[in-house]
Symmetry: D3
């Protein structure tokens, strides 16, 4: 049984690798490398896998899961600049892929071992990523 909670946040970012030159960045990221940045309304879905507790009828208390999501991710990235303002994203190009993996790493320690199943991050109506801890 997999249970999923969805929350949203709005943030600015710029896709830019400071270790590479301007030409490489422009070629790699195109308009996403705009120096003033751009931004998105992100949809964050976190899925937990487990068995149904026969007493509560629940796999996990969704209210507690959302509290974890808010405390460890949403409250630290909402209405922020993902390149500058977020400690756990320092030194990272804030692509959807890197964000999803970084969010997983923030969430995993607060969720019973082995239960975190997937972090799904919707960047626009047309782009999304799913991370299941594959290459940690």
């Amino acid at each position: 049984m997999i249970i999923t909670a969805r929350l949203t946040f709005s943030a600015a970012h710029r896709l830019h690798n400071p270790n590479r030159d301007e030409a490489w960045n422009r070629k790699t990221y195109g308009k996403c490398d705009n120096p003033g940045g751009h931004g998105h309304n992100y949809g964050l879905e976190v899925s937990v896998r487990g068995t149904i507790d026969p007493d509560t009828g629940m796999v996990i208390d969704l209210k507690e899961l959302k509290d974890v999501m808010r405390e460890r991710v949403i409250d630290r990235v909402d209405h922020r600049n993902l390149n500058e303002d977020v400690d756990f994203l320092r030194g990272m190009v804030p692509t959807a892929e890197n964000l999803a993996r970084a969010f997983w790493q923030q969430l995993a320690p607060a969720i019973p071992h082995g239960q975190l199943y997937e972090v799904h991050l919707q960047e626009t109506e047309r782009n999304s990523v799913s991370y299941r801890g594959e290459d940690e």
Copy 2:
């Protein structure tokens, strides 16, 4: 190949375990334990897995799948109180998790053996569960 049909229904429910006391229920279910109940527009997605019939180009006739969904689930829960009105939910706390598993059990006998792949139940824009028959 997986093929998915989506139907919706509207129902009332109350999260309350009558075998536990009020304090436990209030702590466990919070506002979802409101005695008068509350309700949702549920989205029910049923997925079937199979190979494409070369004659029809279909894995399953979606019209037949929806007829099964209507007869075995939708028509019995739509515009109902899930705590009181539905025979196959008796004695069960109607959490999204328990509903998804109960719907699977209603649907499975009417679908060719091994083809039912997933029951996905959307409770709100922010909560959903997926059940694949794992712990039957």
Copy 3:
């Protein structure tokens, strides 16, 4: 200029006029008259009309508008039974039409005179109502 805020709530209701007999109720409301009730995820959109304040660039502070919506409507109807639990809905059949007008009446005193423009209530993917104070 019209500015709109959207919030959601989940509630149970039963369409039933206690002043009329069962036959009338069944004929008028059909399955919506189910004695145990049913429920919905409602989407509530409140629109305010005004001019842009040249200093703030805003018609109204959306955070304040949402606080009014939560205090006067959402917190009193969310996870409630609209027939039984809500003081300002007493004695009223909780149709979408009656709800929209009742919400307008709760909201209007807290919004500068003449600025409340529309209460839009989405009951399902297929049903909605809009009220602009026409027949008060």
Copy 4:
């Protein structure tokens, strides 16, 4: 007859009035005043009003309307910082209200006189504005 085209763009912005002090800005804009900015996926709907051309069956060629929207608005704001990068937004706090009015002013000269009916700007799932040229 009203016909509406919808396009989207992603941009960063900060709500901040440089003519007022920090305390005023923080009180007025809250977390939207974050110095590093934040961002959104905006949905822009432009509506044109007219009669149906009996020859074409169209009020306006939607492809041409979208070309105007792209040339005059979308291509200048997409993947941009609305405080810094857009000439026609200079000196303006980029609230949804100010954006909608500024977009109207960009679009109106390219649409037959009197036909532009509404600019609707969706900032998040919860916030939107509509402008119909009222106070020009």
Copy 5:
């Protein structure tokens, strides 16, 4: 008070005026003039305006409104070719504008005089039209 019902249908169409030559059609309709046609999932929203009946709490019985929509429009256009199969669309280029007006004309006689308020037709995520009987 305005109440709105939404139904969907899927149909094929080709934008082509047989009274004009190929060059005109290609220039006017572009890829929508493809001889084999193309198609859409249409969303049809019909809005009725009226006062709340104090007995029922309703402006109109939505079930009856949907029955009218199905009988007079949906059942005649769903899974049809709008250029060839629909009697009330004969001799008309099936643009969204012409469809909305034709649907209004089908619906109006079945709705109490003066109550039909708007026919809104969504052709794609990006295109829609609204008709309020303006130029009848």
Copy 6:
């Protein structure tokens, strides 16, 4: 890590197997066998699986993935008749299942070996299929 791009197209089709008689076709496909065809707005989601490139922070360049989708699928099926106009669909009943597999076969050669993970095709709000290359 899985990354997904979504594009849309609008097309006409008819479900009809010319090797079977009318009775079989009518029984199998029902109203989808309408001789004049019908149509849909399709949503096409293509998912690619891979590891994050530490230099770019990306699994794949989404712009390149969308270019492949446009060149190999979207531009050949958008505003087309799927029974008549598309070379790679010749001789095939254009069910959602057959389309998803055919799109996979068009896309796979243009994506690094083993990385194409899923083709998801949404036909209506109620019908979708997912193909992961299972029975090639």
